[in-house]
């Protein structure tokens, strides 16, 4: 290839990476790449690396915690079902256990999680051997796998070298609802325990807020589907260091969450 032609192809690298080539030029340029032009390939690789810096300039924000569980449920269903029969699996944001007396020590939570994990693993083996053929049971298995994953996530947080904890108290006088949040400052992973909050209406969802600089930052959504239940949810916080966090709050919001609290604050806890 002549130098001018090579130069012309190199000129196309930037519009190609920015997706600005018309279909004809794009096809022609891709055909050129197929010839194995090392110079253009190297140029493209460098341009992709360079433009990949731009998203790092945006304010980082973790997606709602339910997304992680939804993805994991989807992976489980993909693995255990034939491709043509993939069914949507329900979102598993939380693990619910029967109503609990107000626990006073974090070892209670830890022991509950360990016991829960062992029981679920036992059930998984049982279900896997006995009931793998029906779609309904596969769905149950997927749910249990998602729960095991969540239990493992909770254990991972509780076993971290540095864990912070904060109590959340009900804003309403006389309410039995309370909560507590454990978080790992470095990774910003958190376990939220919520006890005795009323079940939310179908179009609503509870939302955890992290307070920083007198502003509410969204920290994740969770469901309470049974009255008087003890709910655990895994979240990723927008910030992790205790000195940056003024406190946490829980409010009832439209399903999917809000960008700032629109409902009444139900639980609150301050770090200072």
């Amino acid at each position: 290839m002549k130098t001018e032609e090579r130069h012309a192809q190199l000129e196309l690298c930037i519009p190609y990476v920015f997706g600005r080539l018309n279909p004809g030029n794009r096809k022609q340029f891709e055909a050129h790449l197929q010839t194995g032009c090392e110079q253009c390939k190297r140029e493209l690789a460098e341009l992709y690396e360079a433009t990949a810096l731009l998203p790092l300039l945006l304010k980082q924000e973790a997606p709602p915690s339910g997304l992680r569980q939804r993805l994991l449920s989807r992976l489980s269903s993909k693995r255990s079902e034939p491709p043509r029969g993939t069914k949507p699996t329900p979102q598993r944001d939380v693990v619910e256990t029967p109503a609990a007396q107000k626990p006073s020590h974090s070892w209670y939570l830890y022991a509950s999680v360990v016991m829960g994990t062992l029981i679920i693993i036992g059930l998984l083996f049982f279900l896997n051997d006995q009931l793998r053929t029906t779609g309904e049971l596969e769905k149950k298995l997927n749910d249990l796998q998602a729960q095991v994953q969540q239990q493992q996530d909770i254990l991972g947080i509780l076993q971290a070298q540095r864990v912070e904890m904060l109590q959340l108290a009900s804003v309403e006088a006389g309410s039995e609802a309370f909560g507590r949040i454990f978080w790992e400052p470095e990774k910003r992973h958190a376990v939220l325990q919520i006890v005795n909050l009323p079940a939310q209406p179908i179009d609503k969802q509870y939302q955890l807020w992290l307070m920083k600089d007198k502003k509410y930052l969204r920290a994740g959504e969770f469901d309470v589907n049974k009255e008087k239940s003890n709910v655990f949810a895994v979240m990723t916080l927008p910030v992790g260091e205790r000195q940056e966090i003024e406190g946490f709050a829980v409010s009832l919001e439209p399903r999917g969450g809000s960008t700032e609290p629109s409902g009444v604050i139900q639980l609150r806890g301050a770090t200072k």
């Binding site: 460098e46 690396e49 433009t51 810096l53 998203p55 790092l56 993909k78 470095e186």
Partner: protein
């Protein structure tokens, strides 16, 4: 500082490549680690492009599902795993935007442009960072202080909103030649960050 950031980025690249190898062996833990590392980068990226929390969630979901199902399409000779993920994320967001525009065209008889940056966008630079990438992100931000506001704005408009250079010239009432020169210079500055130079053979 620059050495540290470069070393950290290279370490991240090695870890990402290792995670991807494990993902190809159907290791879900590897996928969740990769997700935890990059979802806080790609969620606002999707949000910036589509202007919708809901669609941005779908973008991130589809991105990591793609990694799980088609991770073997990554070619190391074409760049780092992060650069591959970024290009994929942009492609997924553009697909969603096209679908949304088509739906709107069907409903309203007209398309819509991708949503522009919120007014506070520039103020957001320099705020929170992903912890695992913190040193590197700060280094990138420091390096890019040499970009003028116009250079950065042009790159953002072109990258996130798919504006062509001639569209930008018309919109900003700046000669096309100046737009091209500024964009080329901006890209050159992106490529001159120490971490990028460290990647070159």
């Amino acid at each position: 500082m620059q050495q540290n950031a470069l070393a950290q980025r290279q370490q991240c690249d090695r870890e990402d490549a290792d995670l991807l190898r494990r993902i190809l062996r159907a290791d879900q833990r590897a996928l969740t680690t990769l997700y935890d590392r990059y979802a806080p980068v790609f969620f606002p990226f999707g949000l910036r492009m589509t202007g919708s929390h809901e669609v941005a969630e779908e973008v991130v979901h589809d991105l990591f599902l793609h990694v799980w199902e088609k991770g073997n399409s990554y070619a190391p000779q074409n760049g780092s795993v992060y650069a591959w993920l970024t290009a994929l994320c942009r492609m997924k967001a553009l697909e969603k935007m096209r679908t949304t525009n088509q739906k709107k065209k069907g409903n309203n008889g007209e398309g819509s442009q991708p949503r522009g940056a919120p007014e506070s966008e520039e103020k957001q630079v320099g705020q929170e960072t992903v912890l695992t990438l913190k040193g590197y992100t700060e280094e990138v931000r420091n390096s890019l202080k040499s970009l003028s506001k116009l250079e950065l704005r042009l790159l953002e408009l072109s990258y996130y909103e798919g504006q062509s250079q001639s569209d930008l010239a018309r919109m900003l009432r700046i000669p096309l030649g100046t737009i091209k020169a500024k964009m080329r210079r901006g890209i050159q500055k992106l490529r001159q960050t120490p971490a990028q130079e460290g990647k070159r053979p």
